[in-house]
Symmetry: C2
Subunit: 141 residues, 2 copies
DNA sequence: TTAATTGCAAATATTTTGCATCGGC
DNA sequence: GCCGATGCAAAATATTTGCAATTAA
């Protein structure tokens, strides 16, 4: 499978490359942690591009549908956050002091999934693991 | 530390034992999986006890504050769910077909937390792990 | 008695939707 | 030109809050 530009990827999925859709993807591609629809909305406005919040939501919905973006909810927060789907799965370390989110790459639960599969007779298709703690700066307070 | 009744526990925390508060706790104690504020509201109404949804929210808030209840969000859903805090930590297996939630007990990530602590210099205080899959019944469809 | 609790209605926050218009291909 | 994308306003959903009345201790 050859490497695709985002435009090609959109075309292949039957989605138009509009300036808003591209702006949303540009922002998500650059982030290494998930952000909310509202944050995306503000960042696009800061780029001096007019956009409506419902356009952000509608785009995120179709991008999630097409698996280009992943939607998740981090505990404690009521709203959803979104990240570009790099096809690698990640876990997050969330600082309870300043709410900073750090992505961590290594995943320790392949074996655990298999164990649960045989114990419960479920077919496991994924998981979500978030760690909570205090970053070096917040720890001092 | 001797075993306490829920009433004693409430008293010790400076909370009154009202019928609504007791009803909320009774429901949560009996569940082995987290439920939403609205589900609690409906279950109390089914017991022929009049209650307002905001009373449910306000009670859950204070019970979370006092650590008698845990608030969490399961991905995909926009709303929060609550469970009685048994001081044991649990993980959940969520069926993507019928949305059933199963609690699983064994936790595999003590060592992982230590590893991340030394890698990131964060102080880890907790984590959340949910598994997603299909239960035996939903798998057949 | 009195401070905590509750009901009710209204406010807030987040996300979704209907419909007319616009714009990519 | 067609059909998907967008703006706008309004609806839907989830949660919070102000205030007066009620109730547990």
């Amino acid at each position: 499978m050859k490497k695709m530009t985002i435009q090609e990827d959109l075309k292949e999925k039957g989605l138009k490359s509009t300036k808003h859709r591209m702006a949303i993807l540009d922002i998500l591609v650059k982030k290494d942690h998930p952000i909310s629809a509202e944050q995306i909305f503000f960042e696009i406005q800061e780029m001096d591009v007019a956009i409506n919040l419902s356009t952000v939501y509608r785009n995120l919905e179709v991008l999630v549908e097409k698996s280009m973006v992943t939607k998740l909810t981090l505990s404690g927060d009521n709203r959803s956050v979104y990240e570009y789907n790099r096809m690698v799965h990640r876990h997050y370390l969330i600082c309870l002091g300043c709410k900073k989110i750090l992505a961590i790459e290594h995943c320790p639960i392949k074996k655990y999934e298999q164990q649960i599969e045989s114990e419960t007779d479920y077919k496991i298709v994924g998981h979500k693991l978030d760690l909570y703690g205090y970053c070096p700066e917040c720890r001092e307070k």
